[in-house]
Amino acid sequence: MQKIIKLAFIDFKLIFRDPSLYTFLFLPTLLFALIIWVVPYLVGKYDFLEPYVPLMLIVCVVENTQMFSFISSMVLVDEKESNVATVYGIVPFKERQYLVSRFLFPYFFTVLLNIILFVVQPFYHFDWMNILSISLLAALVVPLYALTLNIIAKNRMEGLIYVKALNIVVLIPLVAFFVPGEWSHLFGVFPTYWIFKSVENVTQGISAGLMLGIGFAFFAGLIWFTSRSFLRRHFM
């Protein structure tokens, strides 16, 4: 456990010493300001925006995950580019521990951010079970994003290019809200779709159990698959 905490702590040091990373820590503050002041003001002023409130909330939930998705991705890419990753390949540290140490704090920090988001948003009253389960599901974007990016990107430059692509991928399921009927489920191939549907169901007072269940299973499968591929490449 000491090893895991030490490595997680080092990640924070690396983040706070790199301006290109720590500036991203302000992203959630921006989102909170939007959801507390800007969105309510606009919805109050322009009635036609009201049906889109769930959509805006959904975007905020996913954008909350993007801060650590980007930061964790870049920390790992830098580690690979500077060949420090190779050193982890020759220390007595299990690969599972390595992954846990890299994603433990980013994951729970992201869970916390979404819990705060659900609490401070002024539009709906969510029960704690829903808040917690959706926050736990949404934060899984962080490891999946960072692992995926590190499988395909060899260095920071490539990483920054793929970040743009992945940022689009996580938001593609938004299109489902404009697709009629059952066709919208085609967007279920994108894992974030199940986060979107869970939030939508809860805002409509419908149980999100099934969506959450599929979401957790889907994310777990993808994280298992990407982590295997990541571990095969990262330490070489």
Binding site: Q2, K3, K6, L7, I10, K13, L14, R17, D18, E79, S82, N83, V84, T86, V87, G89, I90, V91, P92, F93, K94, F235, M236
Partner: protein
């Protein structure tokens, strides 16, 4: 300590194997060197031995146990000095060492300040590694490899990027480690380094071992058993070592003028390498 038999390794995207049936042994307390040009397979062989590449054919045994059977505890036993600097640039030297020290049992860890002092980096210990020169980073590589006091050490081009003074110091530290009973596997294309520190060397070319012996034997077998005399008047002549004291020509020659130099015609390790392999170390 380390036994390798018929080691074959092929990179997944390559057409043929990089290592083509290597066999060698390294005894406990020995400094063993792989000497060869870039791309010969030196570093690849080391990477197999420190378990970065595990999809190999043949047998590799360490302390009588197959490498496949060693778990993560193997890494407590080994230390690796990489060919290129690989540190967190935003962290200080001390933070880099402290981080990786966390992974090892407490009892064997060496004092960090003493390690920095050992390689003349004590005044830079709390500076960010991004401010270090390449030579400083290489010295940091070296002390990171030995900080947990491992029994087996792998050094890949240990003097690369170092000035002659620091290169000499690192070679001396490697010899000190040998004196403490450590088993050391060095890869280098520096004939001088191999000659100065290795008990035995193997010449490796295109993934194959051409010859394995002590540097002394190699130089002696492939050199001329003769001395060359150079006089102050620019005259020079070679004489066989055999019965040199009774060689009338030799005795007469050295009386013809002031002797400026006498040297044996033993081959250098680089000359032996070229003779044996037909290749240059710098290729």
């Amino acid at each position: 300590m380390i036994q390798v038999k018929n080691l074959v390794f092929q990179y997944p995207k390559n057409d043929g194997p990089t290592l083509k049936g290597l066999s060698f042994e390294i005894d406990k307390g020995e400094i063993f060197g792989f000497l060869g040009p870039s791309g010969a397979g030196k570093s690849t062989a080391q990477k197999v031995l420190y378990k970065i590449y595990y999809d190999y054919q043949g047998s590799v045994r360490v302390d009588g146990k197959s490498l496949h059977d060693w778990d993560k505890h193997y890494f407590e036993k080994i230390g690796v000095g990489f060919e290129l600097p690989n540190h967190y640039l935003k962290l200080t030297g001390r933070e880099n060492l402290d981080l990786f020290a966390t992974f090892y049992p407490n009892g064997k860890k060496r004092n960090v300040d003493a390690l920095f002092e050992m390689v003349d980096l004590e005044s830079d210990i709390d500076k960010a590694v991004e401010t270090y020169s390449k030579g400083m980073k290489m010295r940091l590589n070296f002390i990171r490899a030995i900080q947990h006091d491992p029994d087996i050490l792998f050094f890949d081009e240990p003097t690369t990027g170092l000035d002659p003074v620091n290169a000499h110091k690192i070679k001396q530290h490697i010899l000190n480690l040998k004196a403490k009973g450590k088993t050391i596997f060095v890869t280098t294309h520096s004939m001088e380094t191999a000659d100065q520190i290795c008990d035995r060397v193997s010449f490796i070319v295109d993934g194959e071992l051409v010859v394995t012996d002590t540097p002394k034997n190699l130089k002696s077998k492939h050199g001329k058993k003769a001395v060359k005399i150079e006089l102050a008047n620019e005259q020079s002549k070679e004489f066989p070592l055999k019965s040199l004291g009774e060689n009338a020509d030799f005795l007469s020659f050295i009386k013809q003028g002031e002797v400026r130099r006498i040297h044996t015609l033993e081959a250098s390790l680089e000359e032996v390498f070229i003779q044996v392999t037909g290749k240059s170390l710098k290729s």
